[in-house]
Amino acid sequence: MTALIISQIVNGLVLGFLYVLIAIGLSIIFGMLGIVNFAHGVLFALGAYFALTLRDNVGPWAILLAPFFVGLVGMLIESTLLRPLYGKEPLLGLFMTFGIALFIEELIRTLWGAAGRPFNPPALLSGFIIWGPILVTKYRLFLLLVTVAILLALWLFLQRTRFGRIIRAGSRDAEMVSLLGINLRRVFTGVFGLGAALAGVAGVLAAPLWSVVPSMAEQSIMPAFVVVTIGGLGSFGGAVVSGLLVGVSVALTIQFWPAASSAVMYALMVVVLLVRPRGLLGESWERFE
């Protein structure tokens, strides 16, 4: 029994990294731009669908190209549809992204069809590794390494580079940063594009595990929101901690009470919201208080 529990905890941690990957783009866009991006799920789906089409034409490069194109779509959305709404009622941005989500999902249905599309992991990554009670498939291990690499790169980018400092400063006090002669419009477009590209990465990497159907958007947006809410809106570290927490909770619930396995993340969210409304690692921000 102990062995099985250990193996479930590890499995949950690995699943947690997938949740982190799905949520991190949402977290960045909210943290930096203050936009609750309901279109995050369809950007995730676009990642999978772009990879599906590119895979047949350019082969393995699809893994890199698909998120890049999703990033471009994100930048286009930000610069045309969201920019006019800055500084207005925040609900407008929420409605706009919700509308975009519905539109892109229909677009996917029209372009690629409603039927699910096969998408397997590359043969190189099939099989699994066993270490004592722990069993991890090679594909999930790959996914974990990619996620950790992305998280590290993002952290370094935001903390240690000039651009990162501008983004962080801009998210706290946009006016002051503009007064210093920095073009924040372009920075915002870039940040939204980055968040979108991260959703695209998650979509590409989840495609071999989950069904590739137009409605895959809804399967990713809920965990993403739950993870971001538990971790603390806009908190980078919070998203990581809560993603792993959700993964482990789901895995352990499946071990002991499988029927409740999709409810457990919402239960966790409710508890966190009651005990600590700003989320586990949420900071107190003048903008949101």
Partner: protein
Amino acid sequence: MKIRDFISRRTLLKATATASAAYAVEVAAPFVITARAQEAIKLGVLLPKSGPYAVQGENGHNGAQIAVADFGGHVIDRPVQIVWLDEANPQTSQQNMRKLLEEEKVVAVQGGISSGDVLAIMPIAERAKTLLIATGPNATEITGKNCNRYTFRVDLPNKVTVQTVYPSLKEHGKKWYFVAASYAWGIDAYNQMKDVLVKDGGTVLGADQAPLGTTDFSSYILKLRQANPDVIYVGLGGTDLTNFLKQLHEIGMTRQMPLSSPVINDSDLWAAGPDAAFGTFPKLWNFTGAHNTPRSEQFATTYQQKNGQPPEVEAWQDWFGATAILTAIQETKSTDSSKLIAFLEQHKFEGFKDMPIWFREFDHQLIQPTLVAQVKDKLVDKYNYFDIVAEYPKDPTQLDSFYGSKQEVGCSLGPI
């Protein structure tokens, strides 16, 4: 405030243009007036547009449309119109069922993939005294203890399908593991198969419920792998089954042991792809195979031409459902549900399967032969996935008793 203040000139112009365009159509097109005289017969379709069964929903709707086209778009000299609303969950289904009945004034409703949704709308059909043909649900109680006079069912009850696959599955061993969706259909599937297995001296190594819409089955698969069963029996459908198969493949368990489920949707396997798809399943109909009749083959050809892919079983079910309703309207020259029901309780449908099929009078179950289909060893075609390994019952005279006697079924329909 004057009216001019809030109707801008532009809006006014636009409204005028629309109104005059509409007027022009009325005057220029006399057929509009004749069409009004013969009011359309509306057929309500309640199938998922979202969620795990969205693909089946779309394919079912495609099938129903072909039935209407088969009738030339008209029945008793009135145009037929399909109104498709979403079957997302029991609550939405109830709301949309009421909308179909009260606002759209449909003459009958067909559809329903999820047994939970169908069980929720059956009482509404009964109260509204309107014919409901449940084309896609499998929970035994729909034509069992929860049956009613207004509901007919095309799909197979779990209690029947488990009998068809059990003989070949038990050859591999009697220690089984179950993973089933945690709602009416999945729970019923588990109970029916478990009864057969345990009665035959088999063992349930584990039985896990998975919420409808589960994306990640890896933790279930870990438990399953640990238990090392002879057979995996799942009550999963739609994207749930696709996810499960993909993740079995990820861990290298594809084709390692037999897999079955109470029913199979072709599109779930097509979505999993040739590397991940496997198993032996009860199947109501398949677009290939010797059992197919010329009429059903014709349907498959038309479907392929219209939709660019062959019909999956749900498409056939909704094609048959709509055909049954339209036939009843044509033969009774009426849209009155009580007359349609009286007709359906008596009529034998010929040409759809290799023996006549009919809705049984005492439980409204479609009495039909059914297949056992096995995923081919080598999948080369994008859609041709199955070999038909058996047809039940083998003897046409056994057909009625195959679905259980009145006593076994335990249905009392109630008055019309």
